[in-house]
């Protein structure tokens, strides 16, 4: 059987150190269907990591992540690092980092919150705590610590 290696990409993004089992969720955030049809997407699941034990990796060709997507990844994969590749070289590498206020990434879990009614308003959260992450809805002040099912 021919062995398939994950090949280096010329331009794109490598999201490394994703918590074990979270790569598919990261793919959902990235929105694979929105990608250029000629782009390669490589996913490595359950890879040994010195830093975090086991990890997942996602490599996407010809795409750089919007700040909103980076924030969403930071919520579900707080250990992730993001490397921007240009012309086969790592041009930028950083840990995902949450800003103090996050807009439009998470839906408020409170069904009675004004952001869940038909109002012209985006959800907005302040970071109430960073490790582990707890967000506070700017509108109804509800605290949220589970994000996977609540991504907008």
């Amino acid at each position: 059987m021919r062995e398939l290696k994950i090949t280096p990409i010329k331009n794109g993004t490598v999201i490394d150190h994703i918590g074990n089992g979270m790569a598919l969720e990261v793919l959902k955030i990235i929105g694979v269907s929105e990608l250029d049809k000629d782009s390669t997407v490589s996913v490595a699941l359950h890879v040994r990591s010195q830093k975090i034990g086991w990890k997942d990796i996602v490599k996407v060709e010809n795409m750089e992540l919007s700040p909103r997507k980076v924030n969403a990844i930071a919520l579900i994969a707080p250990t992730a690092t993001i490397a921007i590749i240009r012309d086969f070289k790592v041009r930028e590498k950083r840990a995902v980092d949450l800003p103090d206020r996050i807009t439009g990434v998470v839906r408020c879990p409170n069904p009675n919150c004004i952001t869940n009614q038909h109002e012209p308003v985006e959800s907005e959260f302040d970071v109430a705590r960073r490790r582990p992450v707890v967000l506070r809805c700017v509108y109804c002040e509800r605290l949220v610590d589970e994000f996977l099912t609540r991504l907008a």
Binding site: C108, N110, N112, C113, I114, T115, Q117, H118, E119, P120, V121, A128, V134, C137, V138, Y139, C140, E141, R142, L143
Partner: protein, 310 residues
């Protein structure tokens, strides 16, 4: 530090110093609220009261505060008559109302509506209760009642009794009391305790908190018994409700072991949590508490609309 032109959506919007300023001003407003002094602090001001949910006490105390200080108000008291019934968003309703008056007082069934209104309005917005969320003027009048009775807020031992889970007033009150260094004793029926998230925040603030489900044990050394309504609709089993409601009833017999200075507070309306016989005792502070809503709202409106404290 000034409150002029500011919104008041959550008690968190105010620093400790600002809360103290409101309380000082409220004290000066008492003669105006009693009608023994005539006020004109809000002369020429028009306040829009937008009440999209039924309310007697809060709406009338705002109207009283405004009119006793020489201001005027226009009121939406019946949401069924408003354009929101026709599908207009709260955002648009508030945007329009903000062009009419000098400030908006909002009561609305959705949590977070106050914050949304503040964004939509270019005039100050005062939150008069958003669903099960914030009700900062209630917290301020609660603090005013305690301050009046004891001359201070720090070091008081406050028992929060009843439904601490859904009771709207209790969460912001607990937060404010923690800011002032009061000691909190939580006493709630099973399943109606303070939500974990609220509790952990209070712990983070370094608040001194304990729990006790037997009321007679906490009455002895408490300064304040803050009683909330146990809502029947939260119980599936009516018999369970009767049992719980019965065990949280404050009566003269229970108060026999209390300190002489203990005060009993309640945001009202009460539904049997406090026996009527308590009304005649020196412990009953709930009607005074309801009255203090007027000077507290006078103080707030005056500070927000004119920048003046009295």
């Amino acid at each position: 530090m000034t409150l002029k032109g500011r919104d008041l959506i959550s008690i968190r919007d105010l620093s400790r110093e600002e809360i103290e300023e409101v309380l000082r001003s409220a004290k000066r407003m008492i003669p105006y609220a009693e009608g023994t002094k005539l006020g004109d602090q809000l002369g020429g001001k028009l306040v829009t009261l937008a009440f999209f949910e039924p309310s007697t006490r809060t709406r009338l105390s705002f109207e009283t505060a405004i009119q006793r200080l020489g201001g005027r108000c226009v009121t939406i008291a019946d949401p069924s008559a408003s354009s929101m019934r026709k599908g207009e968003t709260l955002h648009d309703t508030i945007r329009m109302l903000s062009s009419y008056g000098d400030a908006i007082v909002l009561r609305h069934p959705n949590e977070g509506s106050g914050r949304l209104a503040a964004q939509a309005s270019d005039k100050p917005v005062i939150n008069a209760g958003d669903g099960a969320g914030q009700h900062p003027t209630q917290t301020l009048l609660d603090l005013a009642t305690m301050q009046e009775a004891f001359g201070t807020l720090s070091g008081l031992k406050v028992v929060l009794l009843g439904d601490l889970k859904y009771g709207r007033t209790v969460h912001s009150l607990a937060y404010a009391l923690a800011v002032f260094g009061a000691e909190l004793v939580l006493s709630a029926p099973p399943g109606l305790g303070l939500p974990e998230e609220v509790r952990s925040q209070l712990d983070q603030m370094g608040a001194k908190i304990s729990e006790e489900d037997q009321i007679h044990r906490v009455v002895r050394d408490a300064d304040i018994l803050y009683v909330t309504r146990i809502q029947k609709e939260r119980f599936v089993d009516l018999a369970e409700y009767e049992k719980v409601a019965g065990s949280y009833r404050i009566d003269s017999a229970l108060l026999k072991s209390a300190k002489q200075r203990l005060i009993v507070m309640h945001p009202l309306p009460r539904t049997g949590e406090i026996a009527p016989e308590v009304d005649a005792t020196a412990h009953a502070a709930y009607f005074r508490q309801a009255f203090l809503g007027v000077p507290v709202r006078m103080a707030l409106l005056s500070l927000i609309l004119t920048g003046k404290a009295g």
